[in-house]
Symmetry: C2
Subunit: 385 residues, 2 copies
């Protein structure tokens, strides 16, 4: 179950020396065709890293032949020299595998503001280009090489009739709307046009990665790239493909959530009966961003007052005097007043559900977040040291 499970893809990984630990830090994924259809989505942060600035140009024509990814340095805020490093890496990959550099997506992750050693990267590209292999092991090695503070690598495989979608992801914090410090590569051997790749990818990320909100921070490097080799010779309907891609993205998103830095709980916040899906997302996100609410969950405190206080900061349609809130299935608040005793809420496992009924329509949405813990503070205060 990896990016090399679908037919038509090879991958490889190596330790190029960017990580001081000597762990693998460079991965290459190549689409051998016969089709090279592709689509990508990037961070919406205006301060974008050099690899994002480069890759945005690469993906414009809907054709991608390879994705090269490094951990150990984000190549962000490193100026023109950093951009030249990204460009040089793409050129080297192109040369080694016999394609044009303008079809090579580059992704980087790690600390920002640090210049990556260009020669280490180029030497690493030589190594991975020579080591490319098909089969699940190669993909698994690539998934490991893109880890930073991740405690486990993240992979997925969703199978359709005669075709499949493979995926890998990197991310363990800074998960926020419109993607965040998250690199995802998705591969499929289904026959899908670039246009359909784009439609399906946008639909799938909208209800998966875009609804993760671990700490409200938005990264500078996030990239999700889908490549379709067409090697199965089978053309699924766009609906079937989109549904499968969405399952793959939600699966990876839940793996990212479960590995968020220092979290004790995964929290699913579902807003019901909103006037619109937009309202439901805004309301749910306001709760996911409340440090007070998130600290309360860490303390296993079903503090529904903090839920209502968060809702009150939004523009979503509702009557402030008529809100219902449940935690782990117990309706602790009805009509904006206390209802079931909070001590009936049982916090036994890692998973916590918060349900809010806005009574303003029939739309709904779920946003996922984590609790705010001592370990979160510790890991993020020590990250660069």
């Amino acid at each position: 179950m990896s990016i090399t499970s679908p037919a038509g893809f090879r991958a490889a990984a190596t330790a190029a020396g960017l990580k001081s630990t000597g762990a693998p830090d460079l991965a290459l994924v190549v689409n051998d065709g016969p089709s090279y259809a592709s689509a990508s989505v990037f961070t919406t942060n205006r301060c974008k890293a050099n690899p994002v600035l480069w890759s945005e140009e690469v993906v414009k024509d809907g054709t991608v032949r390879a994705v090269v990814l490094n951990s150990g340095g984000a190549n962000c805020y490193t100026g023109p020299e950093g951009f030249q490093t990204t460009h040089a890496v793409a050129e080297r990959v192109a040369e080694r595998i016999g394609v044009g550099a303008i079809d090579v997506v580059v992704c980087s992750t790690g600390l920002i503001g640090l210049t990556n050693d260009r020669q280490q990267l180029l030497d690493g590209v030589d190594v991975v280009s020579a080591a490319l292999a098909a089969g699940p092991e190669a993909g698994a090695a690539a998934a490991e090489a893109i880890m930073t503070t991740d405690s486990v690598s993240k992979q997925v495989l969703v199978e359709g009739p005669g075709w499949s979608i493979g995926g890998m992801a990197k991310g363990a914090g800074m998960l926020a709307p419109q993607l965040a410090t998250m690199l995802v590569v998705l591969t499929t051997d289904a026959v899908v046009s670039a246009e359909d790749c784009d439609t399906a990818l946008r639909a799938a990320t909208r209800v998966s990665f875009d609804r993760l909100d671990s700490d409200g921070c938005m990264s500078t490097n996030d990239t999700v790239t889908l490549m379709a080799s067409g090697a199965s010779g089978i053309t699924p309907s766009l609906d079937d493909f989109t549904e499968a891609l969405q399952r793959a993205c939600v699966d990876l998103a839940m793996q990212l959530l479960a590995d968020a830095e220092g979290a004790d709980h995964e929290i699913a916040i579902t807003v019901l009966n909103a006037a619109s899906e937009e309202d439901a997302v805004e309301a749910a996100r306001s709760i996911a961003r409340s440090n007070l609410f998130k600290a309360a969950i860490f303390g296993k405190d079903p503090n529904w007052g903090r839920v209502l206080a968060s809702l009150g900061t939004t523009q979503a349609a509702f009557d402030p005097a008529d809100l219902d809130v449940a935690m782990n299935g117990v309706w602790v608040c009805r009509n904006s007043t206390p209802h079931e005793p909070p001590d009936k809420v049982v916090f036994s496992g890692r998973e916590v559900t918060v349900t809010v009924d806005l009574k303003a329509g029939d739309a709904r949405a779920t946003v996922w977040t984590n609790d705010l813990t001592h370990a979160y503070v510790h890991e993020n205060s020590a990250y660069s040291s």
Copy 2:
């Protein structure tokens, strides 16, 4: 230096029994005139506590005779019964001091979703009404009675020629834009019309309390009330009065910031050369709300990459490739690339300054926040237990 330092004001405090510790939890401040001009600002949270719903009506005519404040329970999300409690408290104050209930502002703070004991409050009102006294000690007692998780009481006195402004504040967390879990009473013996009170108060809170952003959470109970007794007989110019009121508000705001729950550092984020003051505030606030940035400061890590990543989420006018950032006076980033070595930044005291140059105009603003610490998480996970 208290709310009873200006002429024309009396105050008292008592332990009404709302706090299980037996500490003082009820305060009354009375304006004895000859003028009763007043202005107030309230939380902009749509989910407002009962005392706010009541007091918003009280202040509409620009006349306030008294403010009664309790800690030990916010009377928020307690439904119609809670509103009746607020009303009953105002009625009892009015009866005891011989005014109309519609001139009595009520403020409450403490846990939300808990019903306050009405009889305890009414008995307490009887006690404080009988104990009203002029002079600084009475005001100091009132300032203590409104504390919740505050470690110290907050008071201020600003003197003009022949007149003065006194103030007290309560708040130790949840400090956010448009006020948050913050109760402030300001008194003056200057002769100021209700209209000028309003103008001066809005100008003063805009650049003080509204620019505190301790944890991005917005409370349901925040109230700032200014009462002008006119007892000095002196009428300052509106400019002079506004300037003095602003000094009082900034002083109290800095006291609130320094007492934020569990913080190790007070952080002043100044954005220079913005296209507008609005842009400067938006840019500064985005940094103040970044958990990653705030955790980095806790770890004494001058992580300017997280500053740029926060700026990138705003709509403020700037060139993402041309931003400068200084920490404690060291320009660690110029033109969005590394400049001075980060290890030149010295974090010796509690105060940290972050300066951002947007190079887009000549407006500026400062927003204050705290670092994100283990103690913040601990205190806010345990608050209701």
